[in-house]
Point group: C2
Chain length 351, copies 2
């Protein structure tokens, strides 16, 4: 897991270099015929990437996005009216039976279909009309890391193909920003011991970093066996915050930009409740970056960007990396092997 976390700058660079041209042809096709709705289908870590795609695509294109419930196709035999839809399946192995059923039905029904996978010879690559590949090398750890960030990169490219204002020059900086996040490895290894006896937690994220709350919580569940809930700050206030008592640990993704006010307010509320908070942020969120250092993990780079897009649009990839590192270090502190979580296998087939 740790090796694969470290490979991310190279995997991002390679994926961008080898795939960006393929998106140009999709971009031309979509320009004349934009989809009326986008459906994203995935499971597990890939579903967390889809959650990111949902925010990214709705914010930057205005096209409504739905996260597919595969059981509607696989169990209920539901036939979605898919004409004029763009249906995207995301699967590391390309062998998730349920998401493949969604893509197969969608293509039969006349939708434009896209597959995002690591495996050029997978079933998904054969089923989807357009396939885009994660060039991250084989992922051996059961806990996915480098495929998640490469999937995020391909979703930026999909937004680009849909005419959103994503600039390829900005995407080319992602490997460097991921490398900046990796500089935290030693610091995080030293700080992980504090959570040795943590058994439950909540991870809070909002907007473009909401998916990171899911993904960091999933890493904690898979590799550290911590019962990790995940909420947007708004949903957390609508009930679950009642769980929080003295010393309850809450992790918060705290990028600059429009979500900061609500994350900051949430943090203040948690501090009043005597909960223990830890913020993931970067040098460009000055207010968060200047808080009590023991309550902040700060990516040592300025990640905010200028222009019409949200300033934090490129934070999700560098922000998940400290989360991955913390999960890997905490698993070691707890005497667990993060590469071989109990009960799990790398390819999970569900219907």
């Amino acid at each position: 897991m740790r090796d694969e976390i470290r490979q991310q700058p190279a995997a991002l660079e390679r994926t961008l270099r080898l795939e960006h041209r393929a998106f140009e042809s999709l971009r031309r096709r979509l320009a004349s015929n934009p989809p009326r709705t986008i459906v994203l289908a995935a499971r597990g870590t890939s579903d967390n990437a889809a959650q990111f795609g949902r925010y990214l695509l709705e914010i930057t294109t205005g096209i409504p996005v739905s996260l597919a419930a595969p059981s509607i196709s696989t169990l209920y035999g539901g036939r979605l009216r898919v004409r004029d839809l763009l249906v995207v399946a995301i699967s590391q192995s390309g062998e998730s039976t349920d998401t493949n059923v969604v893509i197969e039905r969608a293509r039969q029904g006349g939708a434009l279909t896209v597959g995002i996978t690591n495996e050029p010879r997978s079933s998904l690559a054969g089923l989807a009309e357009h396939t885009f590949l994660v060039h991250a090398g084989r992922e051996k750890s059961v806990a996915a890391t480098k495929t998640y960030t490469a999937q995020l990169l391909l979703l930026y490219l999909l937004a680009y193909a849909l005419g959103a204002g994503i600039r390829l020059d900005d995407l080319r900086r992602l490997p460097e920003w991921a490398a900046a996040a990796l500089k935290l490895e030693q610091e995080i290894a030293e700080r992980a011991g504090r959570f040795r006896f943590m058994e439950q937690t909540v991870v809070v994220g909002r907007g473009l970093n909401y998916s990171n709350a899911f993904e960091f919580a999933l890493k904690l569940m898979e590799t550290c066996y911590v019962v990790a809930e995940r909420f947007s700050s708004a949903d957390f206030l609508h009930g679950p915050i009642a769980m929080v008592e003295r010393a309850f640990p809450v992790f918060l993704f705290a990028p600059p930009g429009v979500t900061w006010a609500s994350i900051k307010e949430m943090r203040q509320k948690l501090v009043q409740l005597k909960a223990e908070t830890l913020l993931f942020t970067d040098a460009s969120n000055r207010e968060a970056a200047s808080m009590d250092r023991s309550r902040v993990i700060k990516v040592p780079a300025r990640l905010s960007t200028k222009g019409p897009l949200p300033v934090e649009i490129y934070t999700p990839i560098p922000y998940i990396i400290p989360g991955q590192l913390l999960a890997a270090s905490l698993a070691e502190e707890k005497g667990l092997d993060p590469d071989r979580p109990r009960t799990l296998t790398k390819v999970t087939r569900t219907l």
Copy 2:
């Protein structure tokens, strides 16, 4: 909370009687102009109702449904392309700022807008073109119960208005089925003590009962301060199941029909892991109903229905009631007041 749980048969009967005609006019309008996509916007318990609506509407109408991410409108200023969309906001108070912003923008953009609320004079009722009312009487407990089931009923009526094969005669049986579930009150009060020291749990549901997993988990978080995760059986297998060890408590919604095979398989896997399982089922799922009685809570009625719709289509309302009762009893066992959870207020305003 307990009083309001008991009021559900009457609230369902009243809501159906007073609202079904209003859906006839919506039905006529939709017949000539069906929406291309449906967007459901809600927070908290109402968002769990929306999750049910998502499955119900996609399964029965084939129209893609998206659960709105309100922050895309409220924080990012995103402008969804809403023409030909049906946008539905669900809010007990009708004063959730964020879902109201979604409805307001949607109506300005040309979408057909529907509000589902308890309050005829709320902001939501003024903003939506069509408003349907929950006639459950004032809900005083912070933990919503009767408004959730009445919202589910109104979503069945919305499916009816969209031309799905929902029969009003079947809906008229819902109060009786809710009353059957209430017969479990004494049994559940006696069994709640077993969970006195439960601090964390997972609730599993699938398909039409997936939303009940969210709702039961939310009740456990709000009223018992139990850290309660919720997953579909498929998502649970993709990682989080690694958390499960000896004696880990897992609740499963186990209706008859197409989801039973995967729930049964999940239960077997959990039994192998020596986890403690408890199934919510009814007399019509013969296999589940005949399992070890200490591991089953069985609604004493046959809830499966015949016809082209899924056999378990009317189980969600009677199935959540034992969950509500268990949360109320467990809060008492833990010495907590389920009507006044710490930190929460009845109306939560978020952006």
